[in-house]
Symmetry: C2
């Protein structure tokens, strides 16, 4: 419309902010549980480990929900963040791969309490079919399309070995799933419009190893008071 207008993706919340909102939400819920009614950006920032100005800027993307001189009303902010994140509705999740990780995930209680319902746990190995994990019976992978359709699954979790991950992903996408959480150590290929997030433990360890090595090498790095290599 207006040529000199820097507006193309303004209705969008910065990705970095989106990644922090769940952290704020969790801290706010802890405050709420303790019966605390309001909180300042300074205090909330401290408990979530971020800069208070950054926190305020993050929240300002949702609207002006604070009161100057006072702070933010805990319950109201919980509601606003939840709404923004889409947590006022329930989401169905399907997990593929009922191995070590898939079972741990299915057994994990922390999902249901946040509005994520595990609709199915699927596997290709007939030896595990019918096993009961967390009250859920392991289904066959060929039921994937049916499950996605019937249970209205919108998030697919991949906990299979690496070689099977792309194929499972393709089936998810084909079935209409547009959000995938991948634990297999492979780069998934997906069409535009599909979001993939990956959790890769080996990479995390390798990053830690890199920094660990840095500390070990006698690097007189920045931060002279750095509590050095203890």
């Amino acid at each position: 419309m207006t040529p000199p207008e820097p507006r193309p993706r303004d209705r969008g919340i910065p990705e970095a902010t989106v990644a922090r909102l769940p952290v704020y939400l969790r801290a706010l819920q802890a405050l709420d549980d303790r019966g605390i009614l309001t909180v300042s950006s300074e205090h909330l920032a401290e408990t979530t480990g971020v800069n208070s100005a950054k926190l305020r800027k993050d929240l300002s993307h949702l609207g002006s929900y604070g009161t100057r001189g006072v702070g933010y009303e805990v319950e109201y902010l919980i509601y606003q963040i939840s709404r923004e994140l889409g947590l006022t509705q329930d989401w169905s999740v399907a997990i593929v791969g009922a191995g070590n990780l898939g079972r741990a995930l299915a057994n994990y209680g922390g999902f249901g309490t946040r509005g994520f319902r595990i609709a199915a746990l699927l596997d290709a190995d007939t030896a595990v079919l019918g096993d009961t994990v967390a009250g859920l019976s392991v289904g066959h992978i060929d039921a994937l399309e049916d499950v996605v359709d019937r249970e209205n699954v919108s998030i697919g979790v991949i906990a299979t070995p690496a070689v099977a991950a792309q194929e499972v992903c393709d089936r998810f996408v084909e079935a209409g799933v547009t959000s995938v959480l991948n634990f297999a150590p492979v780069v998934l290929n997906v069409p535009p419009g599909v979001d993939v997030r990956k959790v890769d433990l080996s990479i995390e360890l390798q990053i830690l190893a890199f920094h660990e090595q840095r500390k070990a090498d006698g690097y007189a790095g920045l931060d002279p008071f750095g509590k050095g290599p203890v």
Copy 2:
């Protein structure tokens, strides 16, 4: 210090680059397994899902290991990246919390093959002490300091419930561990010089839910034909 000198932290590799090196490494190892001797930045970039210029810039931080007109020698690059990441030595890892997740991690074979040795699996619950997981006997949490010392543990993994995480972390730090991988949904407090990385599945799901909601809202955003998030 010196105004015209851009040298203060030059020997350092950008954090974003460090996070990608393990991805390149994995792709290179796959090429190596297939007997492929050299690879171009274009090709490697495609299989790892990054921009080829970014890949070249990443690799240039390690040195000039490519040959113009040809590409990179796979084996040599594997060696250089491994060295930079500190993977030419072995690292001892201690896991605390022998629940669903801790056991899945201990059972996972993908760590040992990359130079990470699980030195111990510890828990506070006497009911699980002595259980054998992946050839490892679950030890008591009070042995943490001993284990760290004796096995030369440099990376601590926290797979306990949230309430116990900070305390376990403190004990790790006190014992001399300077790298922590945390699975519990809490913000850990550590002194300078200690690296913490977190893996938080609930946050990953919430981020996916946010984007999912975005897609569902009939947002006739920019770019009617997808290409949106990816």
